[in-house]
């Protein structure tokens, strides 16, 4: 994946080699929102350049953009949970809507991943997002994005709102993704400066 956006104030560039783990630090929230929107929509606005999976997103027809989008997963505040659905319904919604993968597979995946993170799957999945903590919401969003087996996983501001102990938990998302998609690409996007 390659991204470039130039404005009067700054220039944001990101080159994410396939199969690698890349961290991109953007100057501000606006720049992050532009980057995330471009990647999640597989579409670039004037002044932006985006190449996803070797294909330029500029002027792509809708069906091809949809196909590219389907290869991207994200844990991001932009793709939050639906508040009137419980965690299981949130996780299963894309699969149920698109008809694939089978809900049994989704349930198995959810149970495996949640158990790996030390959560009790049954009560966890029955709760609505307002009853979940920040880390739990990110876990639900992570499981939901794993369902589609994405080739590119984007973690947007993953540590925002988490305590130190929760950040250590969240850091295991990458390993969990890797275990399921060994060839997958991971992109961390943040506005903070690298320490």
């Amino acid at each position: 994946m390659r991204y470039r956006r130039k404005t009067a104030r700054h220039e944001v560039q990101a080159a994410v080699p396939q199969g690698a783990v890349t961290r991109v630090h953007v100057p501000d929230d606006d720049a992050k929102a532009h980057l995330m929107t471009a990647v999640l929509k597989a579409r670039c606005e004037p002044g932006e350049e985006l190449e996803l999976f070797g294909e330029s997103a500029a002027g792509l027809p809708r069906p091809r953009r949809e196909r590219l989008r389907a290869r991207v997963g994200a844990v991001s505040p932009i793709v939050g949970l639906i508040t009137n659905l419980n965690a299981w319904e949130n996780i299963a919604l894309p699969a149920a809507y698109h008809g694939a993968p089978a809900l049994e597979q989704v349930a198995m995946l959810a149970h495996e991943v949640l158990a790996a993170f030390g959560a009790e799957p049954r009560p966890f999945l029955a709760r609505i997002p307002d009853e979940l903590g920040m880390l739990e919401r990110k876990m639900a969003a992570f499981v939901r994005s794993l369902v589609t087996a994405p080739e590119l996983m984007v973690f947007d501001a993953l540590e925002d709102g988490l305590s130190y102990a929760e950040c250590r938990h969240a850091a295991r998302f990458e390993a969990e993704y890797r275990a399921r998609q060994p060839q997958g690409t991971v992109l961390y996007v943040d506005t903070r400066e690298e320490s």
Partner: protein, 258 residues
């Protein structure tokens, strides 16, 4: 001036979209959402609010019979022409607007303001499929069912109450009612209530998905617009239907020359 035109255009587009996507109701999460809507609009409303609406209908009958010094014929005509044809569908529509219309518009406006509609789009889920279609179809069906329920209870209540107000037995009133009742009365209320449900749902969905801005303050504004416009549309449709089918205006007070 542009806003009403935009709303009319939006309403038409939404209606066409819903009609074109009707077969998508078979998709599991959409069908579940449809069932939830039917349950919320039809079943939960039937327990308390509708009974009160029926009570209101019965009181109207009692007052009118007393005021007009009604006989059997007039009592049955009041029950059929006023309660069955007009008050039943309108009472059900009012219940649907107050309970479901407010809930749907507030829920959708909240989803729009908090970015949940955007999240659905990123997940490749069409908003018309997942949010609008099941609500419109569910509210239409539930409104028709509620209307029949209100009509049945209100007419039954009227038949039970009337012998205490006028010199007529329950059997006499029932026989006369069946004499006067025509199938067109039934079809008229079913079609009208389906249309009521459709305009309420379409109007509330449109305003919910198109709040005036994307702040929390936009939610009550969207709800107010949705409810007032739904009520106006229901009254308009009621007047047009009464004129088209029976040639009467203003609940039968004015007879049109057709």
């Amino acid at each position: 001036m542009l806003q009403p035109l935009r709303e009319i255009e939006g309403g038409i587009q939404l209606s066409l979209n819903v009609a074109a996507r009707a077969p998508r109701l078979r998709v599991a999460p959409i069908f579940e959402s449809f069932l939830r809507q039917v349950y919320f609009t039809g079943v939960t409303a039937a327990t308390g609010v509708v009974l009160r609406a029926c009570g209101l209908g019965v009181i109207i009958i009692a007052v009118m019979m007393d005021m007009l010094d009604a006989d059997v014929d007039l009592a049955v005509k009041i029950l059929l022409l006023l309660v069955f044809r007009e008050i039943g569908p309108l009472a059900a529509a009012v219940v649907v607007i107050l309970r479901t219309g407010t809930a749907v518009s507030a829920e959708m406006a909240m989803m729009r303001v908090s970015g949940q509609t955007r999240a659905l789009r990123y997940l490749g889920i069409d908003l018309y499929d997942y949010l609008v279609l099941p609500r419109v179809a569910g509210i239409m069906l539930a409104t028709a069912a509620l209307t029949l329920y209100v009509q049945f209870l209100a007419v039954l209540g009227g038949l039970v109450l009337s012998p205490f107000l006028i010199e007529a037995t329950f059997t006499e009133l029932t026989d006369r009612l069946f004499d006067l009742f025509a199938p067109v009365d039934f079809y008229y209320s079913v079609v009208k209530s389906l249309l009521f449900g459709f305009v309420i749902a379409a109007c509330c969905c449109w305003h919910g998905l198109n709040p005036p801005d994307l702040t929390q303050n936009a939610v009550p504004k969207a709800v107010t617009r949705a409810v007032t416009q739904s009520a106006m549309l229901v009254l308009l449709i009621n007047a047009v239907f009464a004129y088209l089918v029976f040639g009467i205006l203003f609940f039968g007070l004015v007879k049109a020359h057709v």
